[in-house]
Symmetry: C2
Subunit: 367 residues, 2 copies
């Protein structure tokens, strides 16, 4: 047994984990214990969605821990604060990757009927395409979900949903955090959603808006340029590539656009201003909603109702953006634009958006 | 300007970054400045590949920084140690994701001829497939790179490289850290590599070997079970799916297998024991190499030379696994098995493996 030990001895020493820390530990009663080793720290705090902000307690080995009450089955984002420094849980491979604010995640498993639980059903595929954007002036990517059984050489053609992420996410967020591919697999297997292609582009018209962080999001000119240029990348760069490479159905009745936060506002901007192309629109917890909606949607009037098959607007009741989403719905109503408006429990979180996606998908592409 | 400010005010406040920390900052002379805010910390250290371990210095705002000497163009992994707690650089979205040891990365750009630099060339696509493994008893994935111009409905058929990651990596490592898709795009565009399909499966026969961390890697029975079961998942689960879904050339002359560290040893194990299926084999910095090679490769004799089109073995001179790779090469020599053996500068690092891949690919599938 010794030789193999020797081969890895240096590695084991360099990773310096004799006794690996188990974190998070999800107990059978759905309590969760979080742990982090920080021998010299004075105060360590857990910041976890759905859990009151909690100081952790240190043991003799320098491991800080905190155990929650039983949590509802869900996927929760969290991080630690160690003496004022935010850190993720490096003992946990489940990340919530983000361009500005990567966190860790804990999955509290629940019934297989929860839309994001992986089931033994036929699985779709996620394709990552790379291209140079002339509009944004950079190398970027878009992801494409194809449903189970999709066959590029067959005759069948599929409707498309363009699904947009939020500010500070990247193109992988809807799958890696939002579980979009899992939700689709489950709904399709249960006959609740039509098999469709889902395209998830990078949602920035200019990366400038990300580089300077949250402070620059407040700059209305930069924000407007970001949204306008994004529309350009979508309509003139991404959509033609998708239509060339995939077996897509043609016509506005086969095209949907939806997104979360920044992506919700982009879906409204692109969708409602291009009703010749999109018949199905979803806006989840929209962020950066214009304060002058009449100027932003100059041509929107009740005749649009004949074209809009679905306009679905939702926001969490604890979301800081609730007010602007209420204002949006009221404005649509004042213009006599038919839409579904939903307020649900929750904040500005993927806990809300996974549920919204599962609620939205079954309504798409129906006769 | 005020209303938009208000919409995002809470977000800006919650992310608590008035002045975003820029880290890493790559200067035009290729020095790199790393920064982390830790007002209460007593000592902060930078651990970065290719940089002598370095204490950082705190400024009045509580920001610790360190600036390197000019670094050679490359991609370097790094992390911080804050009062004894390892942390990644949360101001930097470029992660080196790993199941046991996620780090940050800094890209010091270089000439466009470096294999991992993105160029304005036709780009391939990376496909992510999900399936249930009967052998491993879990849900897992494999990634597939298809070259530029790949057309599922065309007649052309492509050779396949199975490319295996190392212990503690996941199936995304060869692309997200190893830049395999970029290296392939570049080499194909320059006519230096044949267009090929590259399959990157999850490399564990059992996730047990990951769950308990580096300490359990030393357990030879678990290690053996991991390698054997991995071979099963590859040969009986992944390969049939790839052959069914992609336009693959048939026959051993069109099949290669290569990998790094654990994946190097798996490539030798699968390849040399299945010369009826693979003609091209690469082993980069192999880890966990058996101490009884004659028992592990019972049927290997000089008649194999007629079947082996390429057996490429390489290891970094500063790699702690150099000894076992030398022993491997000596054993092959003693058995009169023709092979290429390379020792190169560098340690157990993707800095070495990106270069090995770029050296290995041009030799594959030649007449």
């Amino acid at each position: 047994m010794k030789p193999l030990s020797l081969l890895f001895a240096v590695a084991a020493a360099s990773s310096a984990i004799a006794q690996p820390i188990v974190s998070p530990e999800v107990h059978s009663d759905r309590r969760v214990t979080f742990r982090i080793k920080a021998e010299n720290a004075k105060a360590v705090q857990l910041n976890c969605e759905g859990v009151p902000s909690a100081p952790m307690v240190k043991d003799d080995a320098g491991v800080w821990s905190f155990t929650t009450e039983p949590l509802e089955p869900d996927i929760y984002a969290y991080s630690f604060n160690v003496d004022g420094v935010r850190t993720i849980d490096l003992n946990n491979p489940l990340l919530k990757y983000n361009l500005l604010n990567t966190e860790s995640q804990v999955h509290v498993p629940g019934p297989s009927t929860l839309p994001w639980e992986i089931n033994d059903v036929p699985r779709g595929t996620v394709h990552r395409h790379f291209y140079r954007s002339a509009i944004a002036g950079d190398e970027r990517e878009f992801l494409v979900y194809t449903p189970p059984g999709y066959d590029a050489s067959a005759r069948k053609r599929y409707p498309i949903l363009y699904l947009l992420h939020g500010y500070s996410d990247d193109a992988t967020a809807w799958t890696s955090v939002g579980c979009a591919h899992i939700i689709l697999d489950n709904l399709i297997a249960r006959g609740k959603a039509r098999p469709m292609i889902v395209v998830m582009p990078l949602g920035y018209g200019t990366m400038d808006i990300v580089k300077a962080g949250w402070s620059r999001v407040r700059d209305p000119q930069l924000w407007r340029r970001n949204v306008d240029q994004f529309a350009g990348t979508l309509l003139t760069e991404v959509m033609p590539q998708v239509e060339r490479r995939y077996r897509v159905a043609t016509g506005r009745e086969s095209l949907a656009i939806a997104g979360l936060s920044m992506g919700g506002w982009q879906s409204l901007t692109v969708g409602l201003n291009h009703l010749d192309r999109f018949a199905w629109i979803g806006a989840f917890s929209s962020g950066g909603v214009s304060t002058n909606l009449s100027e932003h949607f100059p041509n929107l009037n009740p005749r649009a109702n004949a074209k809009i098959r679905l306009l679905w607007v939702g926001c969490g009741k604890e979301d800081w953006l609730l007010g602007s989403n209420q204002r949006l719905s009221e404005w649509l109503q004042s213009r006599e634009i038919r839409h579904t408006y939903v307020e649900s429990p929750g904040g500005h979180s993927f806990r809300v958006w996974r549920r919204y996606l599962a609620e939205f998908l079954p309504r798409l592409f129906r006769e």
